[in-house]
């Protein structure tokens, strides 16, 4: 998955593990979380098994409050229904639960993300009809990005994925800056955290441009700049992520192994 490994006092971990654990830490208390498969699902399940046992996991396949004891292999893994508080239809997920703003956090991935947190999972290239790469498409993301209380994006950072402007806006982040979401009638706060394998970006409160606010242990700012397709601003209060604890790593690895 990832080439970089880092050593703490006693434990080695990969940059992907750091990313998953940083994402898990962002989920607290009784948060209701709309979980996509892959990195978001890993992070949410680590959080539920460490500091946030009351985390409510909602999967778009139709489960409220799933409590899987292994990482689901897909968004519709049987374990999600078998361990859920309620199983509902897919239209109900979107109409009764997501759309009215009942879900606190939406967790999204991205093929491309831009300076204002807009996300592309549709096509790479300028020509929609004749794309360089055809990606899977929107799925639940546009309405997750619109209606969840806030959005966390988990994505590996590189010049290819962090671009000045996305080729296709699949899901709106902060549009072209502050005020755009309100103008579009989007009721959630949009992306408030972008968690990568290098660090964490947050939107500047005045401009809503993504700003580097945190680097993971062993990562320096130039390395992040080199992996960003726009002139990255850095917070004056830049901090360093706490390395993974042994417990966090153990939980993450046990979940992955059980799958």
């Amino acid at each position: 998955m990832s080439a970089t490994t880092t050593q703490t006092s006693t434990t080695e971990y990969t940059s992907d593990e750091m990313m998953s654990i940083a994402a898990a830490r962002a989920l607290t208390g009784d948060t209701r979380c709309f979980v996509g498969i892959g990195l978001p699902s890993t992070a949410a399940n680590v959080a539920r098994r460490t500091h946030a046992p009351d985390l409510v996991l909602i999967y778009e396949s139709g489960t409220l409050g799933s409590k899987p004891d292994r990482l689901p292999a897909s968004i519709g893994d049987g374990i999600l229904a078998e361990t859920a508080d309620a199983v509902i239809s897919v239209p109900e997920v979107f109409n009764y639960w997501l759309q009215p703003g009942r879900i606190d956090v939406g967790f999204l991935g991205a093929a491309q993300i831009d300076r204002f947190g807009n996300i592309n999972t549709t096509v790479i290239g300028d020509d929609y009809a004749n794309p360089k790469v055809r990606l899977p498409g929107a799925g639940g993301a546009p309405e997750i990005a619109g209606s969840c209380g806030e959005v966390f994006v988990v994505v590996r950072q590189s010049k290819r994925s962090f671009v000045e402007q996305v080729d296709f806006v699949t899901s709106v982040g902060h549009g072209q800056g502050k005020g755009d979401r309100e103008r579009l009638g989007l009721r959630g706060a949009g992306p408030t955290l972008v968690i990568t394998d290098l660090g964490i970006l947050r939107p500047d409160p005045d401009t809503h441009e993504l700003v580097l606010s945190q680097v993971h242990p062993g990562v320096d700012v130039d390395q992040v700049r080199a992996a960003t397709g726009w002139e990255l601003r850095v917070s004056s209060e830049l901090s360093t992520t706490e390395p993974p604890t042994e417990k966090e790593l153990a939980v993450l690895r046990a979940l992955k192994e059980a799958s």
Binding site: Y96, P100, G101, R102, P203, P205, H208
Partner: protein, 291 residues
Amino acid sequence: MLLFICRTFVRYANEGAGVAEIVSLAEAVAALVHDGDTVTLEGFTHLIPHAAGHEIIRQGRKDLTLTRMTPDIVYDQLIGAGCARKLIFSWGGNPGVGSLHRFRDAVQNAWPVPLEIEEHSHAGMANRYVAGASGLPFAVLRGYAGTDLPRHTGTIAEITCPFTGERLAAVPALNPDVSIIHAQRADRRGNVQMWGLVGVQKEAVLAARRSLVTVEEVVDELEPVPDQVVLPSWAVTYVAEVPRGAHPSYAQGYYERDNDYYRSWDAISRDRDAFQAWVCETVSGAEVATK
């Protein structure tokens, strides 16, 4: 330090957050139902929250806008006791028996207080709750065309399909201040389970700002049941354990409908004095006799 956009988003769908608290019926009604509120007690013959209705009478609430598809005798009681100033509904009767005499007396004679009405069809009302539960301002249906309802009900409009040009009916979302329903069970975390005829109760709770579910019993674990509807704790404000809280309506798996009670209501409700005596004796105790 930069102040980043607030992470602690204020949930906009329902007031408050967190999970349902389990409290007494009296506490829940005192905390949730205020004079002037729009209040919904839903139930389609089955699981009608009678005990909660009586508690509202007991606490002397006034000027409520009551909404329900099928206001029956518990609404007749609330109306007769002077709790309501407006009723939004689609069918008001004593099912299988006849008319609601307190409702008629309020509409025809303004007794004990005038009652404004806003009248829909079942399809319209059901869709108003659906829109409310869905966070949409309105719903679309094939309905009302050619009837006299739109002449008297302001909350019916026409809408044109942007693809076919067809004209359909639109009704606005119904978002009560409080919705109250009765269910068979809740677990100790406040997750609610009901089954059998579940009517429009899920939609009524999801459409409301605050909600109360009275239940037959609070149990350790909700054993799954066919045709169940489960409302997670975090979608409900309060749960109160009220055994037989639906009586004289029924709770499938617990007790049958008390059809004699419905029949006997006809005589009580025809007469203002008999009704007042009933309220005093059955619901309120002495303090209401003096009002």
